[in-house]
């Protein structure tokens, strides 16, 4: 009751309520009504009083009730002044509810809303990022035009905020401001441009959303960020993924040439991969005739693939439509499995997915044929799902499966859901026309249905039979007779009309029956449906022309009836027919052709799918579902004839060199299958590494992470920080996966795509500090070229097999007065010199004040050893961390590099001693080359030992994992199961280091190392032996 009374007063507003109350008293029974409204008034006052009270609990109560009113759609605007006072409340819940209220009513109470603005402006400067973010959120949600400049300013500031979360909110605010004031477009585009460059996964989805809303035409803003977006995609939150994928689909359709032209050009692609790596870009112009997919195009297709596994149906659908619209036709197939999976979901998802499958299955039957049975209908499906499934089944029907399908259809025809049964009959008709083998079978089946008890079924059958007969009228006199009999029983107008039409059309084939039918129809003409009447007229006319002796009078009788019919269509038709067929003095030239007009050969109707015309809409869109263009639908453009300049996507940072050597002798002998198992092994290694390992790995991962956004995190509270660091092993692992997959992809990818790989890496792990990436890239190319010049065939640096990063303590925080330093070997060729081992140092500030001027002081290096120090770090925020890289040339020895790590105030002595395994760089070579090189490094250069261990330690994966954990070596593909080979070269001198593990009978194995650097070789042997033999 209370809420009722509430409603009244709120709708009418306080003042009015009084009046109304008084009015009401006069009309309605005095006591009840008066009581009601007076209590009502009191309640409202009550709320105001509660809001003005000192107690938070009362305020909260009031706010809760007000929110309840808003939720019910009742007007609570008169409380605005009372509510807005509480905007600065200390209590978070009150504050939040006030925000809810403000956002809802600010538009109506603009002047009062301005009172709250200063609170938000203050909050925008709050040191806590979450408060800044939420202030921006509410401020931008207040739709008051006066504050546009304030909003603009706030957005600009927030877009440069150190916290990615605030930047995300800034991106959201852009859309709000744009809808409030489109005039701001230019300024907003500037902000969008800036935010698009953002490397945080948090921001990416939101800013693309803003882009799509504000300036979807400014495709030029995407170029530079294209690769980054592709690479970030997997880590963006699911809603953002959908938006980005849709945007990139449109982008791809404007920037790349169609991959559909040369379906059979696949072999070419494979060849291109090997010979057009470096200079592919230049070559693309020349070799126009053979299509090569733009590497960026490939990048997009490849990076979206994992998302097919998403739990979010919208993401899966988005990827599916991307594949449908931009990938080569041969690759679209992979989406069908995932789409079929979505059919297990709730009915709404099923509905949309089935619609899209229906459209796809018209064009490409093959895609869904293996899943035919997944579209079988269950009696419990809602009708709309049933009909869609039926549609798909029809599209999929072919000679091979039609008999199974027809059997299935038989069950459907009997369904209690008559609408569905009718749809099935139509389907059978369509199958019959599409597949000529079964036309007769279907026809017979349909004729059987004519004796069905249900009228709808019979009627539908008649209509379908009519269509079928029209296609091959000659030999079906019997069926027509049968149907003529049905006229006695069937009442559905469409069916009656169909039968009449059929008889009229074939009146010469059933000369005895036709006039009789006409007689019967004439009898009941007046009680027939309009549709039927028209057909009776037609039948009469046709018979009049062919058999006027018997039917002349009947027809005239019918024409007379028609002349006075209530429906003008029928009167019209009657007049028209009479003029044509009945000879009289006025009859014009046309009546001569009456027979030709009425009994012309009519083309058979085409039974087509209702989904036929949907394919011009982008799949997965609202427009596709509705089959009309929805507001704001962006047309997918056609592929350009000539690809626009692909170099616009090049990012200006120094690109990371190819990690894989281009010329591929080794590669060719290394089939993709083999590699697959290898990568498994690699992964194993990271998996089963000890706890401490993974922890340290995670720590370092985290610091890398932070390196990028060190300044951001400085703001976070310490608890956040902790959680971050704990979570970072996840990041590390993700990256592992990326790396692995990357190299794998390279192997089995079919087209030359090095171009983008370069920049891809640098982007993909955007978390890595970019300087590091750049550096490693550089050196890699250098070392590569160098090694190539040395001996073209063998010593090519390959990708290091990934192992969890082992971090070593450089400086403990206790001894470093709060400055902690860790180092690890990233196993990347070094940027600073090709003889150097790259070392990454992560510095953590565990104190609560800034540490300034971190640099390397005095060095005490053994003879010959060189070191490239990192640049001085100006300052490190509390809780901040930064990763820097440096290079040390250890001269292929395990001597210690000692140096001083200095801050503004202190100097700490630290040293780095490299494990022998880190002095190596992996080398890719074939088994043959390996054997040849091994043959040259025998005698003194060979050291070997026997290992004894349990057989389970001698599985290929375990061996691989153990060896690469110790040393940075490359795997040599082996033709023999019991021999495992690894190759590397020393960093300083480039001498080969060949490791062989040969499994023998009885859980023993022989470990052989061949190298010129016998000292290192024997040290490595010493280190490998215990590792391999231990359980």
């Amino acid at each position: 009751m209370s809420s009722n009374s509430f409603a009244y007063s709120e709708q009418s507003g306080g003042g009015e309520a009084t009046e109304l109350g008084q009015e009401a008293t006069s009309t309605i029974s005095p006591s009840g009504a008066f009581g009601l409204f007076s209590s009502d008034l009191k309640k409202n006052e009550d709320l105001k009083q509660m809001l003005e009270s000192n107690k938070d609990s009362a305020k909260l109560d009031a706010m809760k009730r007000i929110v309840g009113m808003i939720a019910k759609g009742k007007n609570a605007s008169e409380l605005f002044p009372a509510v807005v006072k509480n905007v600065a409340s200390k209590n978070i819940e009150i504050k939040k509810l006030v925000y809810v209220y403000l956002v809802r009513y600010a538009e109506e109470q603009q002047d009062l809303a301005l009172l709250s603005i200063s609170t938000f402006q203050r909050a925008l400067k709050d040191p806590n990022q979450l408060i800044r973010a939420s202030a921006l959120r509410v401020l931008s949600s207040i739709r008051v035009p006066i504050i546009v400049p304030i909003m603009m300013l706030a957005i600009k500031e927030a877009s440069a905020d150190l916290s990615p979360y605030v930047r995300k909110n800034a991106a959201h605010a852009i859309q709000k401001l744009y809808s409030l004031d489109p005039e701001q477009k230019e300024m907003l585009i500037e902000v969008i441009e800036k935010l698009l460059k953002d490397k945080s996964t948090l921001v990416a989805g939101s800013v693309v959303m803003a882009f799509e809303e504000v300036c979807p035409d400014r495709i030029d803003l995407i170029h530079k960020n294209y690769r980054k977006l592709c690479n970030l995609l997997v880590d963006v939150e699911e809603w953002g993924q959908v938006v980005i994928i849709h945007m990139l689909t449109r982008y791809a359709r404007t920037q790349f040439v169609s991959p559909w032209k040369e379906e059979d050009g696949l072999e070419d692609d494979e060849k291109n991969f090997y010979d057009s790596d470096d200079d592919q870009k230049e070559k693309t112009d020349k070799r126009k005739k053979s299509y090569t997919m733009d590497p960026d195009h490939r990048l997009l297709i490849r990076n979206t693939k994992p998302l097919l596994q998403s739990r979010n149906a919208a993401v899966v659908m988005a990827v599916a439509q991307l594949y449908w619209h931009i990938s080569p036709k041969s690759e679209v197939g992979i989406i069908s499995k995932s789409l079929v999976r979505l059919l297990r979901s709730n009915r709404e998802v099923q509905y949309i997915v089935l619609q899209n499958i229906a459209t796809m299955s018209i064009q490409r039957k093959g895609m869904f044929e293996p899943y035919l049975k997944s579209f079988y209908v269950r009696s419990t499906d809602p009708t709309m799902i049933k009909t869609l499934k039926l549609e798909i089944l029809t599209n999929l029907a072919n000679e091979a499966n039609i008999s199974t399908l027809l059997r299935e259809f038989q069950t459907y025809v009997k369904s209690q859901d008559k609408e569905f049964a009718a749809a099935t009959i139509q389907t059978i008709g369509r199958c019959a026309t599409n597949i000529s083998e079964v036309t007769d079978t279907c026809l017979n089946g349909l004729v059987c249905l004519l004796s069905n008890r249900d009228e709808i079924v019979v009627a539908e059958s008649v209509v379908v039979i009519k269509k079928l007969l029209q296609m091959q009228p000659a030999q079906h006199g019997e069926i027509i007779k049968h149907m003529a009999k049905l006229l006695d029983s069937i009442t559905v107008p469409v069916a009656r009309a169909s039968i009449l039409w059929l008889i009229g059309e074939n009146c010469e084939r059933v000369p005895k029956i036709a006039p009789d039918v006409l007689r019967k129809m004439a009898k009941g003409f007046t009680s027939e449906d309009d549709l039927v009447k028209l057909q009776i007229l037609n039948l009469g006319a046709k018979l009049y022309l062919t058999n006027s002796k018997q039917t002349k009078l009947l027809t005239q009788y019918i024409l007379n009836l028609g002349k006075y019919d209530q429906n003008y269509d029928i009167r019209d038709r009657t007049r028209f027919i009479r003029q044509l067929i009945v000879p009289n003095e006025k009859s014009g030239a046309l009546s001569k052709y009456a027979k030709k007009i009425f009994l012309a050969q009519k083309p058979a109707p085409l039974l087509e799918s209702p989904f036929k015309d949907r394919d011009h809409f982008q799949l997965g869109t609202l427009s596709h579902t509705l089959n009309t263009k929805a507001t704001g639908y962006l047309e997918l453009s056609n592929w350009p004839e000539v690809a626009p300049d692909p170099s616009v996507r090049n990012v200006e940072v120094i690109e990371l060199a190819k990690e894989w050597t281009p010329a591929g002798k080794a590669k060719k002998e290394n089939p993709a299958k083999k590699f697959y198992s290898e990568s498994e092994e690699e992964e194993d290694s990271s998996d089963s590494s000890s706890d401490s390992d993974s922890e340290s790995g995670s720590a370092s991962g985290e610091q890398e992470e932070e390196g990028d956004s060190s300044d951001d995190s400085s703001e976070d509270s310490s608890s956040e920080h902790k959680s971050d660091s704990e979570s970072a092993s996840e990041v590390g692992n993700k990256r592992t996966a990326k790396r692995n997959s990357k190299s794998k992809r390279k192997r089995d990818s079919e087209d030359g795509e090095n171009e983008n790989e370069k920049s891809k890496t640098s982007d993909s792990s955007n978390a890595d500090s970019s300087s590091i990436e750049e550096s490693s890239s550089d050196s890699e190319s250098e070392s590569e070229s160098e090694s190539e010049s040395e001996s073209r065939k063998v010593t090519k640096v390959s990708t290091p097999v990934f192992v969890p990063v082992k971090t070593h303590v450089l400086l403990h925080r206790m001894s470093g007065k709060g400055l902690a330093a860790h180092y690890f070997f990233p196993r990347q060729p070094c940027i600073f010199g090709d003889k150097m081992v790259s070392v990454q140092i992560t510095l953590n500030n565990t104190t609560d004040r800034k540490i300034e001027n971190i640099h390397i002081g005095g060095k005490r290096l053994p003879v010959g050893m060189q070191m490239h120090v990192f640049n001085t770090i100006e300052s490190l925020e509390p809780e901040g961390s930064i990763t820097v890289s440096m290079g040390i040339d250890f001269c292929d020895s395990t001597q210690t590099a000692s140096f001083q790590l200095c801050t503004k105030d202190d100097c700490f002595n630290v040293n780095i001693q490299p494990p022998v395994g880190e002095l190596l760089l992996p080398v890719a070579m074939s088994e043959k080359d390996f054997k040849k090189e091994q043959g040259m490094l025998t005698g003194m250069n060979e050291t070997s030992t026997v290992i004894i261990a349990a057989p389970q330690n001698f599985t290929p994966s375990v061996i691989l994992q153990k060896v690469v954990n110790v040393a940075n070596v490359g795997v040599v593909p082996s033709g023999q199961d019991h021999i495992h080979r690894f190759a590397a070269k020393t960093v300083h001198s480039g001498s080969l280091m060949l490791v062989t593990v040969e499994l023998k009978e009885g859980s023993t194995a022989q470990l052989i190392i061949n190298t010129e650097k016998t000292v290192i070789g024997s040290v490595l042997l010493r280190e490998l032996k215990p590792v391999l033999s231990q359980g």
Binding site: L97, V100, R218, Y376, T621, A728, N733
Partner: protein, 431 residues
């Protein structure tokens, strides 16, 4: 020149408003993320609902002159969202379901009463989940940090102390790289439970042969582990899994390369993966049904006789059997005797439900008797199909087996458990 190809207009504004409507057509909650849209927009929805006759058949996407309505039907409620411009419909549908899931999660049920009782929390949730119509925080772990779910104890405490449901801690999850896990999780007993639930979808034809059968499975997890555990779950026979969809926490590449599920789990209950078992494997059908349903011509009665027996049950007991039959409209009543369990027949909806319970192979359960038909009406064309539910504990029908669960990143030893259940999914026997 290429920029021209992009059309110049677009005001993509995702979800504009949301209306919650109950079965009897009352709009009992509305929420607007932008300017207010009048309730009258729902009239188009009601119109469509009327046309559809059955709630299941209300089209999820409806076009009105100025808006588009995208709706879902969940737990006897319609969630109707108002859209103004082009948007992928699945995006909205998926989001609405996520909203319903969240309500379910918070209030234990997604019903009108629960929503009305907790309208403030609902509003707070909606506010957090969507910003300007674009999803913001949809992970339950984050939401629970922001807004605490109601409990009886807490509401008592709150009313006494005046404290609130709104978390005053800051939602760190939103800022981290693992947005699905909240920070600072602490348990005294660290436990990780996995339920492997497999469902058999099947269509069995009249003669008892399988028209279509497929196994769909999910692994639901209940993880109560402190700190930031990094788990990896491996299977004895991962190749069985043909098509898998993952919770975002799972590292896809690890799965791709070694078929190991490696993840930092969200805290609490969540669905880890759902999968389909490859279709090459023959599906063992654990039950068979002997049926004899007949309606006599020109008579007002019919016979109904079904018997259920076990088949390929791998030595496990089949329990929780229920048979649901949608009888034809002409059936007035049914007079049946079950040898086991109990049955009900609803003369209005014409649904027969037989709650069988367990199968004991010595004495197979059966349900026999007479069917009363409306006299004079033609006999039903088709026999109704039987929908069967059952459950087999301790068995994953596909043979999927969890090999081991390893935890990294934390020092303590968690208690681990795996439970297998096989259920009937959409299991239909045509008669």
């Amino acid at each position: 020149m290429y920029t021209k190809l992009f059309k110049l207009f677009s005001l993509q504004k995702m979800i504009h408003s949301l209306f919650l409507i109950n079965c009897s057509g009352d709009i009992f909650l509305e929420k607007h993320w932008k300017s207010v849209v009048s309730q009258s927009v729902c009239d188009y929805f009601f119109e469509a609902q009327e046309k559809a006759a059955d709630v299941e058949n209300v089209p999820p996407v409806i076009s009105t002159p100025h808006h588009y309505l995208i709706s879902i039907y969940r737990d006897k409620l319609f969630f109707v969202s108002v859209i103004q411009t082009e948007v992928p419909p699945l995006f909205v549908i998926e989001f609405l379901h996520r909203v319903a899931d969240t309500f379910q999660d918070y209030f234990g049920e997604c019903s009108e009463a629960a929503i009305k009782d907790n309208v403030v929390i609902v509003y707070e949730l909606l506010e957090e989940m969507l910003d300007n119509g674009f999803p913001l925080a949809t992970e339950s772990n984050i939401l629970k940090e922001l807004i605490k779910p109601p409990t009886i104890l807490r509401s008592v405490v709150n009313s006494i102390t005046g404290s609130s449901n709104v978390g005053d801690t800051l939602p760190t999850g939103q800022l981290s790289n693992i947005p699905w896990r909240r920070a600072g999780v602490k348990y005294t007993n660290n436990e990780a439970y996995f339920d492997v639930v497999e469902e058999i979808d099947a269509i069995i034809d009249k003669s008892g042969s399988t028209v279509f059968a497929e196994i769909q499975g999910v692994i639901d997890a209940c993880i109560k582990l402190s700190g930031m555990p990094d788990l990896s779950l491996s299977f004895m026979n991962p190749r069985l899994l043909d098509d898998v969809s993952f919770h975002p926490c799972i590292r896809f590449k690890r799965w791709e390369s070694e078929r190991v599920l490696s993840f930092i789990p969200p805290d609490g209950n969540f669905r880890l993966i759902s999968y389909r078992v490859s279709s090459q494997n023959l599906v063992a059908i654990p039950v068979y049904v002997k049926h004899c349903i007949s309606f006599k011509e020109n008579s007002s009665c019919g016979r109904f006789d079904i018997t259920i027996g076990p088949k390929q049950n791998m030595g496990k007991t089949i329990e929780g059997i229920t048979v649901t039959v949608h009888m034809p409209k002409v059936v007035l009543n049914m007079n049946l005797t079950p040898t086991q369990g109990s049955y009900t027949f609803d003369p209005v909806t014409k649904v027969l439900t037989w709650d069988v319970g367990k199968i004991t192979p010595q004495k197979l359960p059966s349900l026999k008797g007479l069917v009363n038909l409306q006299s004079g009406a033609p006999k039903p064309e088709e026999n109704p199909s039987l929908n069967i539910q059952f459950k087999i504990q301790q068995l994953a029908i596909s043979g999927l087996k969890v090999n081991r669960l390893d935890m990294y990143g934390e020092k303590y030893k968690p208690f681990k458990g795996v439970k297998y259940v096989t259920k009937a999914g959409k299991f239909q026997v045509r008669t």
